[in-house]
Point group: C2
Chain length 352, copies 2
C-alpha cells in the first residue's frame, strides 16, 4: 500500500519525537511492504518565524492532500507570558483543527503493566483502567466570538454549540461504546450551562437508536473527582472542547507519564495523529524527551487512517517490549539507566 503522510513536527521537542516515529513507521513499512511518502510542512512557532503564520496555507494544502497527518507539538514559551502577542503558535493548532474539520479528538488512557507503579495513583485504584475520551475539537468556547469592550477592561468569550455538532460527536461516542463495553458517559455542566443542556438533551434523544448502550450523565466537576478516585469505572466518555482539554490531561496522569499517551483527531475527510503532551520547551534539543506517545500515535494512524491493524499491533508490541526491557527515557528511568530519545527509536526499529 502507498501511504501519503503529511509530517508536521512543530515546536520544542516535536521534531525529536517525530523523528523516532518516522523511523518506526519506515521500519514497519519495510516489514509489511508499504511505501510511505512523507511530506514535511511548517506549523507553530517555527512557521511564525519562517512565514509569519502558525498554519500557513501551504501547510494546509499538504495536509488536505495527504491520507493522514502525523503531528508533533506546538507552543513556545516566548508567547505565553505576552498577553498582547498578535500571532500565537496555538492559533495554528486551532486553525488546523478547524480547517481540517477534525471534530473528534480521541484520547485513550490506559496503563502499562510494567509501569503501573510509576503512577501517582495507587495500583489498586488504576489496575485495568482503559478508558477513552472523545473530545469535541472544532467548536465551543475555543471558536466562539471573543473580544474586549470598555477600553479593554472587559473581556469575553462565547461558548456555542449546535445540535448538529453535538450529534456528530455523540454518534462517534455511541459507535465507540458499541465496539467496546457499551458504556457511555456524557460529561457536561447541565446544571449551569445552556450549551451543556443542549448536549444532554441531544444525547438523550439519541439513546433510543442505541438501545444496548448504557448512558450516564455526569457533571464535569464530579468527573474531575471520580477520574482520580475510580478511573477504571469509566469506559467511553464524550464531552465538549474545553472540558475535554482539562479532563484528558488530568486522565493522562494515570498512566504514569504524559510521554506515553497518543491521540487521534478525526474529521469527515482528514485525520491527524499526535501525542497529547506539549512542546516541553525545557527539554528541547536535549534528546531526552519520551517519543513513545508519538510512536503510539503512529500506531493509531495505521489502524484508524489506513485500517492496518497488524501494523498498529506490531508497533504496540514493540513498545511494550521496550518498556518491559527497561529501555526508557529519563521520565521513566527512576534512577536506573535513562536512554536518549534517539536511542529509543533505534531500539524499536531494531526490534521490529
Amino acid at each position: 500500500m502507498e501511504l501519503n503522510i503529511a509530517l508536521l513536527a512543530g515546536d520544542g521537542i516535536g521534531p525529536e519525537v517525530i523523528d523516532q516515529a518516522v523511523k518506526v513507521c519506515d521500519a514497519i513499512a519495510t516489514k509489511y511492504n508499504h511505501k510511505i511518502n512523507w511530506t514535511a510542512a511548517l506549523t507553530g512557532a517555527a512557521a511564525i518565524d519562517a512565514v509569519g503564520d502558525p498554519y500557513p496555507d501551504e501547510t494546509h494544502e499538504i495536509c488536505v492532500k495527504a491520507d493522514a497527518v502525523l503531528f508533533g507539538a506546538i507552543g513556545h514559551p516566548r508567547f505565553d507570558n505576552d498577553p498582547s502577542a498578535k500571532v500565537r503558535p496555538e492559533q495554528g493548532l486551532l486553525k488546523m483543527r478547524q480547517k481540517l474539520g477534525l471534530f473528534a479528538n480521541v484520547r485513550p488512557t490506559f496503563t502499562f503493566p510494567s509501569l503501573i507503579d510509576k503512577s501517582p495513583l495507587k495500583r489498586e485504584r488504576i489496575e485495568g483502567t482503559n478508558l477513552v475520551f472523545l473530545r469535541e475539537l472544532t467548536s465551543g468556547i475555543y471558536f466562539g466570538k471573543r473580544g474586549r469592550e470598555d477600553d479593554g477592561n472587559t473581556a469575553y468569550d462565547t461558548c456555542t454549540y449546535t445540535r448538529a455538532e453535538v450529534t456528530r460527536l455523540a454518534k462517534k461516542g455511541f459507535e465507540t461504546a458499541m465496539a467496546r463495553s457499551k458504556k457511555l458517559c456524557c460529561v457536561d455542566k447541565a446544571n449551569v450551562l445552556e450549551s451543556s443542556r443542549l448536549w444532554r438533551e441531544t444525547v438523550q434523544s439519541m439513546e433510543k437508536e442505541y438501545p444496548e448502550v448504557e448512558v450516564s450523565y455526569e457533571f464535569v466537576d464530579a468527573v474531575a473527582m471520580r477520574l482520580v478516585q475510580w478511573p477504571n469505572s469509566y469506559d467511553v466518555l464524550i464531552t465538549e472542547n474545553l472540558f475535554g482539554d482539562i479532563l484528558t490531561d488530568e486522565a493522562s496522569v494515570i498512566s504514569g507519564s504524559m510521554g506515553l499517551m497518543p491521540s487521534a483527531s478525526l474529521g469527515e475527510k482528514n485525520s491527524l495523529f499526535e501525542p497529547i503532551h506539549g512542546s516541553y520547551p525545557q527539554a528541547t534539543g536535549k534528546d531526552i524527551a519520551n517519543p513513545l506517545a508519538t510512536v503510539l500515535s503512529a500506531a493509531m494512524m495505521f489502524e484508524t487512517a489506513f485500517g492496518l491493524t497488524d501494523e498498529a499491533e506490531a508497533i504496540r508490541v514493540v513498545v511494550n517490549k521496550s518498556l518491559d526491557a527497561g529501555i526508557v527515557t529519563e521520565d521513566l528511568a527512576e534512577g536506573k539507566k535513562a536512554y536518549k530519545t534517539s536511542e529509543i527509536g533505534d531500539w524499536l526499529v531494531a526490534n521490529i
Copy 2:
C-alpha cells in the same frame, strides 16, 4: 460575643450534616461564653417545593442581616436529567452567591495524618499538601448571557470578566499568599481565551505591589495534571469560576474523602461557609453522611467571620482527635466500625 448566624440546611444530606455543625457550634459557644442566635431559612429544592423559588427573598433578608451564613448543600436529582426544568435548585445557589456578593470562594485542601493512606494518591505524593484555592464566584460563564437561537438548535453561554472583578479576587490571592508562603499561582487558559488574557495581564500588573510574592502562571489543563502529580508543589491558587469548580473538586480527592473539605465564600459585607460536597441524594435520611466538612466549615466561620481563632482551633483539634480515635463515618471506616452522622456530632460535643 453575640453571634447571629443564618442557617441554610438545603437539600439532601444538608440538614443532617448541618445538625452536627450546630451542635458543635453550640458546645463551643458554651465553652467560650458566646451566645449564638440561629435563624433558619429555606434554600434549594426544599425552597422550590415550599415557595417556588430556590432562594426566596425572605431567605436573602435573613442572610443579609446575619453576621455569617452556615450552609449545607443544594441539589436534587429530580432536576438533573430534565434539561427543560424552569426552576432549579442550583439557581438558588447562584442567586445567593451573586446577591450576597460572595466573590471569593476559599477552598483549602490538606491532608490529615491519620487518613493519609485513604487517599487514592500515594503517600509520598501528597504528604505535606496544604494548598488553598481562591475561586472567583460571582462572575464568568456562570453569570454571563446564555440562551438558545435557531429554534433551540443552537445554545450559547458567555464568559465575561471585568478588570475590577479580577483585581478584587487577585488582591485576596496576593494577601493570602503574603500570609502563607508567598507563592501564588494564577490558573488560566490565556493561550486560547480572551477572558484569561485579561486575568493574566491584570495579575501581572499587580505583581509590583507585592514584590515579595513569587507569581506563576499556569494553564488549567496543566494544573489539572500537576494537581494529581505533585499537589504539594502548590500553595495559593487563584482562578476564575468554572476552572475553580473543576479543579477544587479534583483537589478534594487528595484528602481521601470529599466529606472532609470545608469552604468559605467571602464578600465585602457577607460571608458564607459550606462543605464542598454536594447534597449526596443516595445517602439522604440515612444518618451516614460525613459531617466533618460542615463542622470544619463552622471552624472557618469562627475564624474568618468572627476573628475567633481559639474557637476555630478547638474545633479542628477535636475533629483531628475523632479521626485519630477512629470515630468515623462509613466513607472512612474501611471495614472497621462506621459511626452514624449524629454519633460523630455527639462525640465531638462530648469531647469539646
